[in-house]
């Protein structure tokens, strides 16, 4: 959180080193959702086309859904800690300090992990509710 320093040529790399985890985290939740979605759609499509055992695939994918939710939960927890609203009491982070940027990225990643979790639950529902390939 050093505010006063001279900018350097390697500024980008340094910021990424400092905020690398956050930048990654802001899309990590949605990326887990996307990976889960592609796995569900791809595997089910091939299973139905090739006549593989759909029940086994459904169970396997439900386990994957659980794993995706755990992963998103972890992302959300880390982001919540980074947002740190319980201590700062600042919900808005509208100032121009490095600290605000740090908290803001945590806030955005936290919200995105919630929407990703909802997405994973939604996309898992057909696995539970729909029996086979008909």
């Amino acid at each position: 959180m050093t505010d006063e320093h001279q900018p350097r040529r390697d500024e980008d790399q340094k910021e990424f080193a400092e905020e690398h985890a956050s930048l990654f985290k802001i899309t990590l939740g949605p990326l887990i959702w996307a990976a889960h979605f592609v796995a569900c759609y791809g595997l089910v499509a091939v299973t139905c086309a090739k006549g593989w055992d759909i029940d086994a695939v459904r169970s396997g994918l439900l386990v994957a859904s659980g794993a995706a939710l755990v992963g998103i939960g972890w992302v959300g927890w880390v982001a919540w800690r980074q947002w740190n609203v319980a201590q700062t009491g600042d919900f808005v982070n509208r100032c121009g300090r490095a600290e605000d940027r740090h908290h803001f990225l945590g806030h955005a990643a936290f919200l995105l992990s919630i929407i990703s979790a909802i997405g994973v639950v939604f996309v898992s529902l057909p696995l539970v509710l729909i029996g086979g390939c008909q």
């Binding site: 500024e11 139905c48 808005v92 509208r94 121009g96 490095a98 605000d100």
Partner: protein, 853 residues
């Protein structure tokens, strides 16, 4: 490890202190600086005006061109409505009707909605970011001229009775079997425009990441910039599948390679997948930037900061991701397994959540503020009402059983027009009223604006609300006429009347827009009391964009940094001068926007026009099967682009660093990840890799969809040549990266030897790959055809890569590329990272997959 290039680092105090900012600039210094800046940024006069590349000029042309295409497509819609006003009408023939609705949809999507995003963003974004221009002005201009040429070509076809007529999504086999050039015009014309879209996306992403004013960290940038980032990213992943699809489609049209022909192993469903992987995100590509305009207007009219900034960022990013999981909801009736439909139905319902969040954030801002009902706000209110209606029918249609009933009826037509008018047309018109003082330094008429709004709003609802019922009562889309007595007659008549009322509204709006406003008095600088940087613009107009680039520490600097405007005008901030008479803008770091470089940007030129004209020839001549002129035109386009790059990009500067103001000295040259060019290549190649991935997806799709792929006893690619190709591509990569490292280390001669060897090896690799498939018969079955397609893709990319390597060799020989100034070779090696991975994947698919499957 890469050795440092020895270029200077930024030096001097940052961030500026209050004392530094409070120190006045002497009057004579101010005037001398202003006159030098004015000279450097002067817009060309007379017939040279079309050589301008400044974002304000190109953005205006872009907007007006898209508007003209929109009006033409609107006239087509009026003819459609006239034809359908009464049963058994014979105003136009069935064939003409097919051309009209195909063209109406294609033009509204590809020539109006998507380009309008690019146009508005090119016009406004530098102003909002306090930048002088976009980082690559000539690329914007090139994109614009491509759009103009391609658009005129595509829309002009309707005047020759040769327009595409298979519907705007061109489903095979109807479109592949269609006689005449219509489908080719659609494919090649729009591919050409898609290239322009990707160019604009690259420009806008790099602009947002690297050209923000000092201090504008990611948490305080205008929401519009967040939306631009998200939408730019979406374009990179959405357009390439369509380009890959167009590539396959055109190979089938021109050479009868059976990608979509089931009698020879092809599958029309592949086109539907590739089209809608593009097509559904595209709806959000249209919607998000328009709603971003609402995110700029609403805080101003509510006179308070936006409520829930992080929530809106969440909804933009979340919508961007989720929108890629919806495409099959356009294909619910194609007989996919119901469990697959379930995934897409669920994702379609989930996307409502982030979309709804931003609407609620807007409503909360309005409720918490003291709303001043201005004309832009009137249009935004109309947008929110209409979009909510369209969203609700969308939730209904996302349920597969309901969609089975409503599919291909007028209910769909009503739904999509509600979402597009509420999500795009109304917010964009609100934006025109809101930003008109910024763009033209004039105000539009309040009275005409109100007339235009009420005519458009009531006409729209009169036209499209009855269509829900027409659809539920069974009227299918795309019929050129219908029998009387089915209960559709009066509904259609009402819709037609509504369409003309709406047209009167648009006519009022357009008249207000273009009527001469010479006699209007000079407008106030910030007529709406906005808080963001674009309202620091100069009235009367100055072409320099911003007098000096401010240090920004708040989300609404004009509200929260009271001294900023006077200091900015006095030239107290960064880059207040153009000592060398050259156009410059500031490059800052990605996350925290700390100044890192002074970037020279390019000025007026003819070369972009020539490059666009020849590129147009390369795409347009094949429509008529004139392949020789097309190849000549393509070669000339490459020559123009090489000339343009050689004379204007990555020039060796006269000094390695310069004073950027406030005691800060910044370097004037950058290579590798520090340079904007490297970022542009990275982003472009991400899109390119997506297109390649779509082709590979096609290969596996055929395997999934058909019981015998590859067919028994089929001839395969020659394994020995595939192995040779893989080896050659790996060696070429090592030589390219080796040239970069040797050059940086000062060992120029070995670097040149690498740059001589690398193109030869790359060419050998491409030749081996093509040689491996040359004996296969692509017209006989889809298996050899897709192998050919993959080989051609890699060979063409290798060709481009070879030209780049030779460009670097020439640069090294003529002193443009030295150990100290080596941006070109960094960009070329980045290009080859991507192409090498693609080539190795292609070798694996060609060589290993037949065994594995």
């Amino acid at each position: 490890m890469t050795r440092p290039s020895g270029l200077p680092q930024p030096e001097g105090p940052y961030p500026p202190t209050d004392e530094m900012l409070a120190e006045p600039v002497p009057r004579d210094v101010q005037e001398a600086q202003a006159s030098r800046l004015r000279a450097a940024w002067e817009t060309p006069k007379g017939w040279r005006y079309i050589t301008a590349v400044n974002n304000t000029e190109v953005g205006k042309w872009y907007c007006l061109t898209a508007l003209v295409f929109m009006l033409l497509a609107g006239v087509m819609a009026l003819i459609i409505r006239l034809q359908l006003a009464v049963p058994e009408n014979d105003l136009v023939s069935a064939d003409r009707f097919n051309q009209l609705f195909t063209m109406h949809g294609s033009a509204m999507m590809f020539l109006f909605a998507v380009p309008m995003f690019e146009a508005v963003s090119i016009l406004l974004l530098p102003g909002m970011l306090g930048a002088r221009d976009m980082p690559f002005p000539r690329l914007s201009a090139f994109g614009y001229w491509c759009f103009l040429i391609g658009g005129v070509f595509v829309i002009g076809s309707i005047f020759f009775d040769a327009a595409p007529r298979a519907g705007w999504f061109m489903y095979p086999p109807l479109a592949t079997k269609d006689e005449g050039p219509g489908s080719d015009i659609w494919l090649l014309g729009l591919s050409f425009i898609e290239v322009a879209s990707i160019a604009a996306a690259v420009e806008l992403i790099v602009g947002t990441l690297k050209c923000r004013p000092p201090g504008m960290r990611v948490n305080i940038m205008p929401l519009y910039a967040w939306y631009v980032l998200v939408v730019g990213g979406m374009i990179l992943f959405a357009f390439p599948p369509l380009i890959a699809g167009d590539f396959l489609f055109e190979l089938e049209r021109s050479f009868d390679w059976p990608f979509f022909d089931p009698t020879r192993g092809g599958d029309p469903m592949l086109w539907q997948h590739l089209f809608w992987i593009f097509g559904h995100p595209e709806v959000y590509i249209i919607f998000l930037p328009s709603i971003a305009i609402a995110a700029m207007v609403i805080p101003t009219v509510a006179r308070r900061p936006i409520f829930g900034y992080s929530w809106i960022v969440l909804s933009a990013v979340g919508t961007g991701f989720l929108s890629f999981g919806l495409w099959v909801h356009h294909m619910f009736t194609t007989g996919l397994p119901s469990i697959s439909l379930g995934f897409f139905s669920a994702a379609s319902e989930a996307v409502v959540i982030p979309t709804g969040i931003q609407i609620f954030a807007f409503l909360a801002t309005l409720m918490a503020g003291r709303v001043k009902m201005t004309l832009p706000m009137l249009w935004i209110s109309g947008a929110l009402a209409i979009f909510t209606m369209g969203g609700l029918t969308g939730v209904m249609l996302a349920l597969a059983p309901f969609d089975f009933q409503a599919h291909d009826t007028y209910f769909i037509v009503a739904h999509l027009h509600y979402t597009l008018f509420g999500g795009m047309v109304f917010p964009v018109i609100a934006g025109v009223y809101y930003f008109f003082p910024f763009i033209q330094k004039k105000l539009m008429s309040d009275r005409l604006g109100k007339w235009a709004f009420w005519l458009t709003f009531s006409g729209f609802n009169l036209c499209f609300l009855p269509m829900h019922l027409t659809g539920l009562w069974g009227m299918p889309r795309r019929v050129y006429t219908y029998p009387g007595g089915l209960g559709w007659d009066w509904l259609n008549l009402i819709s037609t009347v509504g369409a003309f009322v709406m047209a009167a509204g648009f006519a009022t709006f357009v008249w207000d827009l273009i009527r001469p406003k010479h006699r209007q008095a000079q407008i106030p600088r910030n007529p709406w009391d906005g808080g963001t940087l674009e309202w620091t613009h100069d009235v009367p107009e100055e072409a320099w964009g911003v007098r000096s680039i401010p240090h920004v520490t708040t989300r609404y600097p004009l509200w929260d940094q009271p001294d900023m405007l006077t200091r900015l005008d006095a030239g107290r901030y960064y880059l207040p001068d153009a000592q060398e008479g050259k156009r410059e803008t500031l490059v800052t770091s990605v996350i925290d926007a700390e100044p890192v470089q002074v970037q020279r940007v390019t000025g007026p030129t003819w070369i972009t026009l020539w490059a666009a004209a020849f590129t147009g020839g390369a795409f347009i001549f094949p429509t008529f099967s004139w392949y020789t002129p097309a190849i000549i035109s393509g070669a000339l386009a490459i020559c123009c682009i090489i000339w343009w790059l050689w004379t204007a990009t990555a020039q060796v500067p006269e000094a390695d660093s310069k004073d950027a103001g406030l005691g800060l000295r910044l370097p004037t040259y950058a290579a590798g990840p520090a340079s904007v060019g490297w970022w542009a290549i990275w982003i472009t190649m991400l899109g390119d890799a997506t297109a390649f991935a779509s082709l590979v997806f096609g290969f596996f799709f055929y395997w999934t969809a058909s019981p015998d792929f590859p067919p028994d006893g089929a001839a395969h690619a020659v394994p020995g040549l595939i192995a040779l190709a893989a080896l050659a591509f790996a060696v070429n990569w090592a030589l390219t990266v080796g040239a970069r490292q040797l050059n940086r280390a000062g060992r120029v001669t070995p670097a040149r030897i690498c740059l001589i060897a690398a193109p030869a090896v790359a060419a050998a690799g491409a030749a081996a790959l093509v040689g491996a498939v040359i004996d296969l018969e692509p017209a006989s079955h889809v298996y050899p055809a897709i192998l050919w397609a993959l080989a051609i893709w890699i060979a063409v990319h290798s060709g481009a890569g070879v030209i780049m390597q030779l460009y670097c060799l020439a640069g090294s020989l003529f002193g443009k590329l030295t150990p100290r100034y080596d941006a070109d070779i960094w960009n070329v090696s980045l290009f080859w990272h991507f192409v090498t991975i693609s080539a190795l994947v292609a070798c694996a698919v060609l060589g290993l997959m037949p065994e594995a499957l």
